[in-house]
């Protein structure tokens, strides 16, 4: 007599509990229903979900909402790159105009041995801290080499070699974290219409003789490059600057390279990767790893 009744009561209890919970949740589902635009979920699905902030919004859900409701540009996501921008444009039914990916460039070429007037520094191992100490390094503009940019990059694309920051363009996705992290703004985001671009790797704005006192490879503002290729180079505040958007692989930089007394001018971008000079968009494919993957917890 006990067995069938126990089984029946057990099943009955669970059934009653299940019905009660289903009703409560069903009611709650209706009562607490929040009107959300289905396109926001679709947009969120299209985004990589890395919450890296490269688009300027706090996270991907924020950016998805901004795109759908706030009308933000569809191609702000540096990590997702053109493929995500395409999907977002599709969801929003908006045309996608050509967008050139930007990559960071380090405007300094001085390794440790090239820097003069370096004083011993025992403070905190971070550029932000070292930058506050007057005269920690002869040149007041150049890279300090304590790796704030390395810490900022969540894609392990920045490295400090012999005291100078270096970008690994294979891994870099262009989220701009390193540019923001550098206290001396040595790193700037430059549009890469091709796999390379020519840039002046120096940011020292003092006169020539002053520069010579503090650095062996700094730009002394002698205008040799401006005279050789006026439309691509021009010197402002004793520092040669370039116009990366005018760069064409066909341009010949031979004359400028010989005339320039310092080797300050250097090709930048993927070293000699042939056949990579096609039109910029979509060709810097990087094996994508979200910051979420690196979060310790996946349980």
């Amino acid at each position: 007599m006990l067995t069938p009744v126990t089984i029946l009561t057990a099943a009955g209890t669970m059934l009653v509990l299940a019905v009660a919970m289903a009703l409560v949740l069903g009611w709650a589902n209706r009562a607490f229903h929040v009107e959300t635009d289905p396109r926001v979920e679709a947009a969120e699905g299209a985004l990589p979900g890395a919450n890296c902030g490269g688009c300027g919004y706090v996270g991907c859900s924020e950016y998805a909402e901004a795109v759908v409701l706030g009308g933000a540009a569809v191609d702000l996501c540096p990590v997702g790159g053109p493929s995500t921008a395409g999907k977002l444009a599709e969801i929003m039914g908006v045309g996608l105009e050509e967008k050139v990916p930007e990559r960071p460039v380090v405007h300094c070429n001085a390794r440790l041995e090239d820097r003069l007037g370096r004083r011993p520094y025992e403070g905190e191992e971070s550029c932000a801290a070292a930058n506050m100490v007057a005269g920690v390094q002869g040149c007041a503009y150049g890279c300090l080499g304590f790796g704030d940019c390395v810490a900022a990059c969540s894609f392990e694309a920045v490295r400090v070699a012999e005291g100078l920051a270096e970008i690994d363009y294979e891994k870099c996705v262009g989220c701009g974290a390193c540019a923001r992290a550098c206290p001396r703004n040595v790193i700037s985001m430059v549009p890469f219409r091709h796999s390379r671009v020519v840039v002046v790797k120096c940011s020292n704005k003092d006169f020539g003789p002053e520069v010579k006192k503090v650095c062996k490879v700094g730009c002394i503002g002698c205008k040799a490059c401006e005279r050789a290729m006026g439309d691509y180079f021009r010197v402002e505040e004793n520092l040669a600057r370039t116009a990366p958007e005018k760069f064409e692989p066909s341009l010949d930089f031979g004359p400028v390279l010989e005339k320039c007394p310092q080797e300050g001018i250097v090709f930048l971008g993927l070293p000699g990767a042939e056949g990579r000079d096609g039109v910029a968009p979509g060709r810097v494919e990087v094996e994508f790893r979200t910051t979420v993957d690196q979060a310790e917890w996946r349980g």
């Binding site: 057990a10 009955g12 059934l15 299940a18 289903a22």
Partner: protein, 199 residues
């Protein structure tokens, strides 16, 4: 009409899988319960009754029976031939880290402690957990008089003098065990005296 019917039980309709699973699992678990319950009961009983021969010399696990003496749960230990040899008294109290469950073996008149066994304890492993050593700490309780309360002694106590050798580094645990035994034995002796007066 078809669309209407399906929408009506919207709430429960969606959750039919949950209801079915809940009922099915509930009943299958009840089946498991009925199948395994006797074995689990036997294990529980063995855990306590299995210790009887070690706690009261000559006591038999099968014959002894559980009774209540003045509101206290106790096991009347009978020998194989059925004559009453003594008692096994479950006792529990607060130890160093958590509760300690004990089984105290007493002789017929509850004048002498014939054995002690630790059912459950969560004392510090490696220190307090030594209260479980059969031929160490527990051996000290055998033969102790039940009328006097036991004391924890640092050195080597005289046999049957009510002194218990403390475990080095676990004085609180040893003290707790003694207090639990003292309290349980005192209450039981009072109940025994009360009922002896009666029957």
């Amino acid at each position: 009409m078809e669309k209407e019917a399906r929408k009506a039980p919207g709430l429960l309709g969606q959750a039919w899988l949950i209801l079915l699973l809940a009922a099915f699992f509930g009943s299958s678990l009840a089946g498991v319960e009925i199948a395994l319950k006797p074995r689990i009961e036997r294990n529980k009983r063995n855990e306590t009754f299995g210790q009887i021969p070690f706690l009261v010399p000559g006591g038999s696990s099968q014959k002894s029976v559980e009774t209540r003496m003045g509101g206290i749960r106790v096991i009347r230990v009978l020998s194989d031939k059925g004559d009453h040899l003594g008692w096994v008294l479950p006792a529990s109290g607060q130890g160093f880290a958590d509760r300690i469950e004990l089984l105290v073996g007493l002789d017929r008149k509850a004048e002498r402690i014939t054995g002690l066994y630790v059912l459950d304890q969560k004392e510090t492993p490696g220190l307090g957990s030594h209260i479980q050593d059969k031929d160490g700490f527990l051996r000290g309780f055998e033969g102790q008089p039940a009328d006097k309360s036991l004391r924890v002694v640092k050195g080597r106590p005289a046999p049957h003098s009510g002194g218990i050798r403390a475990i080095t580094g676990a004085t609180i645990s040893s003290l707790s065990v003694c207090n639990i035994v003292n309290r349980a034995v005192r209450d039981f002796r009072k109940a025994l005296a009360g009922s002896e007066g009666k029957d």
